[in-house]
């Protein structure tokens, strides 16, 4: 929604976007160039890369300030967005309050099993992913719009468009004629919008644990005229029938989940896929697809930007895990500069 943000909030959020843009667009490239000068034989192992970058750049101001201000911006997004949302609470609540009989549906389940990793929260969100009742707007219409989109973050470099990347991932599905498309971990519906555009004739289902994100997704669907079926459930245990989905889409979920959960999610996706159905995942490329400096920038998020499973994800052999779970015809490849988004896709065999 277009939140009527007051001048002070708008300007202070825009400042964060500019500061992040400067860190990611000026300080970080300077640090990368310095590292390249100092390290002629970068190590292969991720832990060695971490040591190497931190040693070589131990007193390099652009690197130190880039990291500090990236952390600062990540914290300040919520310090500034939550009050901004409160200033516009009546308008936001009116936007969220959509008719129950509008096309599509939202089914909440307060008793859903919540995995431990969900409780740790993501991205330093104040109070956790559901830490504020307007968190959908806080994340999407304030943080995402004013800070993340202009400033870039993590794997998304300054100046890149996150929404375009979602559409790119949807387009990597090998077919366009799926009866039902499921997004596992649909958040506030950004990827669902891309899926609806790419698969206009498919039934679209979104499964997500966060109530605030689902309420946002429901309002988004109604305001955009989309007919989405939204379910509150862990993606390891969706409750959907066996073989009921033609395409599973998973976007930037697996760097938020521990490998054991990732495996369980893949098993669940295989269960709900129809024989011959496809899974397409878009996320960050594994560390060995990135240079030493870049992989350390991504790895840094593990301890500093509320991404506790980033390190495990970066080292996970996802294609092998998909094959172990039972997917066939598994392919992995990168799109765009820096292999982002990184695509891993596979198929459920016809005879399963």
């Amino acid at each position: 929604m277009d939140v009527p943000v007051k001048q002070r909030s708008r300007a202070s959020l825009e400042f964060l976007g500019s500061l992040q843009g400067y860190a990611g667009g000026v300080l970080q490239p300077a640090a990368a160039a310095r590292y390249d000068q100092l390290e002629t034989a970068p190590p292969e192992d991720l832990a060695d890369r971490r040591r190497s970058v931190n040693e070589k750049l131990a007193d390099h101001a652009p690197w130190l300030y880039d990291r500090l201000y990236t952390r600062y911006v990540a914290e300040e997004i919520y310090v500034r967005s939550i009050p901004a949302a409160e200033e516009s609470r009546p308008v936001i609540e009116e936007w969220l309050d959509v008719p129950e009989d509008a096309p599509g549906s939202l089914t909440l389940n307060p008793d859903a099993n919540v995995p431990a990793y969900f409780h740790t929260g993501f991205h330093l969100t104040t109070g956790g992913w559901d830490g504020h009742d307007l968190m959908g707007v806080v994340i999407h219409d304030l943080g995402y719009r004013y800070v993340i989109m202009p400033g870039g973050v993590g794997a998304v470099r300054t100046g890149e468009n996150l929404q375009d990347q979602r559409t790119q991932v949807a387009l990597e599905a090998p077919r366009r004629d799926y009866g039902t498309v499921l997004e596992a971990g649909c958040g506030n519906g950004r990827m669902l919008t891309a899926l609806s555009d790419v698969f206009p004739d498919s039934k679209v289902i979104g499964v997500e644990l966060s109530e605030t994100q689902l309420r946002y997704a429901r309002a988004r669907a109604v305001h955009e005229g989309r007919e989405w079926t939204l379910l509150q459930a862990p993606v390891e245990e969706t409750g959907l029938p066996d073989a009921s989905v033609g395409l599973v889409s998973i976007f930037t979920l697996f760097h938020e989940t521990p490998p054991t959960a990732t495996k369980a999610i893949l098993q669940e996706m295989l269960r709900v896929l129809e024989p011959g159905g496809d899974l397409v995942m878009g996320d960050i490329a594994p560390f060995d697809r990135n240079g030493a400096f870049r992989s350390v920038v991504l790895d840094w998020e593990t301890e500093h930007r509320g991404e506790p499973f980033m390190r495990a994800y970066l080292q996970l052999d996802l294609p092998a895990l998909m094959e172990e779970v039972g997917f066939t015809d598994v392919k992995a490849y990168g799109l765009n500069k820096g292999d982002y988004p990184w695509i891993v896709r596979g198929r459920k065999e016809e005879n399963l």
């Binding site: 001048q7 708008r10 825009e14 500061l19 300030y65 990291r67 500090l68 500093h304």
Partner: protein, 95 residues
């Protein structure tokens, strides 16, 4: 780089964060000034060039000087001990 701080000490981190906050506040004010100028011009209350072309009257010069000196005193006087800072603050109010 340790997980505890980013610049080698907590105090340095805090100072850098303060600079970020001060810059943010500066931008909020600058944004507001530009918005005000835009609105005033849009509503015919201000020739956009008038701000740059203004030659302040003696009265305005004195007011700007007083405000500027107060700002300089507050920012750069932060190195003084508390008693000195209180005296300076009281003097600023009384003037």
């Amino acid at each position: 780089m340790s997980g505890e701080n980013y610049l080698g000490s907590d105090r340095l981190d805090e100072l850098a964060r303060m600079i970020a906050e001060v810059t943010s506040e500066l931008w909020v004010l600058k944004d507001r000034t530009l918005v005000l100028e835009h609105l005033l011009a849009e509503r015919g209350c201000l020739d956009p060039a008038a701000v740059d072309e203004l030659r302040p009257s003696e009265e305005l010069v004195a007011k700007l000087r007083k405000e500027r000196e107060a700002l300089v005193g507050r920012v750069f006087g932060a190195v003084f001990d508390p008693d000195t800072r209180v005296k300076a603050a009281v003097a600023a109010v009384e003037s």
